[in-house]
């Protein structure tokens, strides 16, 4: 049985539907992420799981028990708020002791567990400080420690790293992964940062407009997006209008206006169908002269523009009649920020199964 079972949950505000029939089941010990653009209903869904809001229809069960009828303070679910919501009038230790006090844990045990918890988040020497005397990263860790100290069944995290700078964010990601592995508490993590979602999660639910667009492992989400929205939202992607002209088992042929025919993996489309070919820039080979390999689509084009990104350079290559394809090359050679300049003639090539045909 899944730890948390959500079925057809709907939440409307007036005539606006913030969460529109969401279903998902989350397993014990999972690091589950809700990913989606601003306003897609992530926080609303999370608040319903925490109990601060309730759905107009649908079901939520924790360990098979109905959750909706239980008030938030009775749910074995804790939240790490985006603003951390640390109590400013309590020391770090008092903040962490708070949930234990609410559960009437004996004083001696509270003391022990708070000090263990402070060790876990490497704040043993900060127990007597007040939240306003801590750095952003430290506050973040206090919020985590406080939410985890009495081992909830489920921890909800609403963009917990959004307020931190990039370096700290990367470091905290690693800490989060380790912490979650160590204590085995199930995490539901909300973010609109796709890198964060991809690095942290066991599974990701990509949301848009109150609906789940795709629910899968990170690599599936990235490599086999189910539709145009997911493909465009996660990473960068070439999205080209295409029509199926031949489909045969594993392979099919697509007609792309201005470019011609390309081979692609057949997801079970039928001839005549139109859709989008999604092609990741890093899956495209780029060179001055490429020898075509077996099962490759091969085009000759011209560099229109390039974006230097430090580790890689993205080249925008014009192929066929005005079709633009992005491809990237790592800047592995020292002192050479780019290999091609605008106007250079180049070859691009990709295996037929490098992209996905999306008819959604």
């Amino acid at each position: 049985m899944a730890l948390l079972e959500i079925r057809n949950v709907v939440r409307r505000f007036g005539d606006f539907t913030a969460v529109d029939g969401v279903s998902m089941s989350i397993e014990q010990g999972e690091f589950f992420t809700l990913l989606g653009p601003s306003g897609c209903g992530k926080t609303t869904l999370l608040r319903m799981i925490a109990g601060f809001d309730s759905p107009q229809s649908g079901e939520m069960r924790l360990d098979g028990q109905d959750l909706i009828s239980i008030p938030p303070e009775k749910r074995p679910i804790h939240t790490v708020f985006q603003s951390y919501a640390l109590f400013p009038h309590m020391t770090v230790a008092e903040n962490i002791a708070f949930p234990l006090k609410m559960r009437k844990v004996p004083k001696e045990e509270i003391r022990q567990r708070v000090s263990d918890s402070l060790e876990d988040v490497r704040l043993a020497d900060r127990g007597g400080r007040y939240p306003n005397e801590l750095s952003g990263g430290q506050r973040q860790r206090v919020a985590l420690a406080r939410a985890l100290v009495n081992r909830p069944r489920l921890l909800l995290l609403d963009e917990p790293l959004a307020a931190l700078d990039m370096k700290l964010r990367e470091q905290m990601r690693l800490e989060l992964i380790n912490l979650q592995k160590e204590i085995g508490v199930t995490f539901i993590y909300v973010t609109h940062d796709q890198t964060e979602a991809l690095t942290l999660s066991h599974r990701i639910a990509v949301m848009n407009g109150g609906r789940v667009e795709q629910l899968d492992e990170p690599s599936k989400i990235y490599d086999s997006p189910k539709n145009r929205f997911v493909a465009a939202f996660i990473g960068t992607c070439n999205l080209v209008e295409a029509q199926v002209v031949a489909a045969d088992g594993e392979k099919m042929i697509l007609e792309i206006k201005g470019l011609g025919e390309v081979a692609a993996r057949n997801p079970g489309a039928s001839v005549g169908e139109t859709g989008t070919l999604a092609l990741r820039p890093e899956k495209i080979r780029l060179g001055a002269h490429l020898v075509p390999e077996l099962d490759e689509n091969h085009f000759r084009g011209k560099v229109r523009d390039f974006l230097y990104m430090g580790d890689v350079t993205v080249y925008i290559v014009e192929v066929g009649e005005g079709e633009h394809i992005e491809a990237l090359l790592p800047n592995s050679a020292a002192g050479r920020p780019r290999i091609f300049a605008a106007g250079d003639p180049v070859d691009i090539a990709w295996r037929y199964d490098a992209g996905s045909f999306l008819n959604g």
Binding site: A50, G51, F52, P72, E73, K74, I77, H78, T79, F81, S83, A85, L86, F87, P88, H89, T91, F98, P99, M102, R103, Y130, N132, R146, A147, N150
Partner: protein, 296 residues
């Protein structure tokens, strides 16, 4: 250098104002409390000339008088008691009101605050006289109360010209001064803190006592100071509603200046009052500092 000059130019006028209208008068009053009363009121000259030459004409007599008769200290303690009772009831009544306003929808808040300060728009004395009517023996309130007491065979009580009338009116007059600082504090509370507390297992009662209340302590202290201190010196309310049993130290001070024409004794009473108030408030602030820890 130029920066300092600017600072002085900006803060100069208010500092000057305070010196001229607060510091100097206070010093004059301190001095007055050590002088002899003049023969026809006012103050006797500081220098006295007689056969043996000039003497400085200062005395501790006024203070001696204060401490020689317990009635003054008793009046002072009674005033303190009125102030404590008034402050207590203001706090108990203002807190839920301030909380209600702070929690109501943003668009209604200003209106509700306006209603709280609405009484300020009418004259202070008129508002006190209104209580004479409310508490008078012929008032609906008195009649209902006495009718009710009569059912149990209790003799009718008089409300007007009693300490009760004074305290009720003091509470009425001072209530907005408690509501406003409390509201200003409560309105700033981050609602996420209450969500967090609830999320971590706190029920409504615990959320109030462990989050809302401790965070509102600065507002409570401000409200207490704003209610308590003015009540110590007030004389209009007991003058109008208190009769003889309801008088406060403020009445006595006023009397010394205007009727008895003993300025030195009036000044000494004022100084005792001011110093006591400062000590009380200082001790309270010290205790408060230790409790609040830190803000935000």
């Amino acid at each position: 250098m130029g920066k300092n000059l600017g600072k002085w130019l900006i803060s100069g006028p208010p500092v000057l104002y305070l010196v001229v209208f607060f510091v100097i008068p206070t010093l004059i009053m301190v001095l007055a409390s050590f002088r002899y009363p003049g023969e026809y009121g006012g103050l006797a000259p500081i220098m006295r000339h007689d056969a043996s030459g000039a003497h400085i004409n200062l005395t501790l007599e006024s203070y001696q008088e204060y401490f020689s008769d317990f009635i003054y200290s008793w009046l002072f303690l009674k005033t303190l008691a009125y102030a404590v009772i008034t402050t207590f009831f203001c706090l108990v009544m203002a807190y839920p009101l301030a909380l209600l306003i702070a929690k109501s929808a943003r668009k209604y808040r200003d209106l509700l605050v306006l209603l709280v300060i609405l009484p300020f728009w009418s004259n202070f004395l008129i508002r006190i006289y209104a209580w004479m009517i409310i508490l008078g023996p012929q008032s609906v309130f008195s009649q209902l109360l006495n009718g009710f007491l009569g059912l149990f065979g209790i003799d009718p009580v008089r409300l007007l010209f009693t300490p009760f009338a004074v305290v009720v009116c003091l509470i009425y007059v001072q209530l907005p001064f408690m509501v406003l600082p409390l509201y200003a504090n409560l309105e700033k509370h981050d609602p996420a803190l209450l969500d967090a507390a609830q999320d971590l297992g706190a029920n409504g009662w615990q959320r109030f006592w462990r989050v809302t209340f401790p965070l509102s302590l600065p507002g409570i202290y401000a409200g207490i100071a704003l209610v308590f201190i003015p009540v110590l010196g007030i004389f209009a309310v007991p003058d109008i509603l208190g009769g003889t049993r309801g008088i406060m130290i403020g009445n006595l001070i006023k009397q010394e200046f205007l009727e008895a024409r003993d300025w030195p004794f009036g000044s000494a009473l004022s100084i005792v009052l001011t110093v006591s108030a400062m000590i009380i408030v200082g001790l309270a602030a010290l205790a408060a500092r230790r409790r609040v820890g830190r803000d935000v």
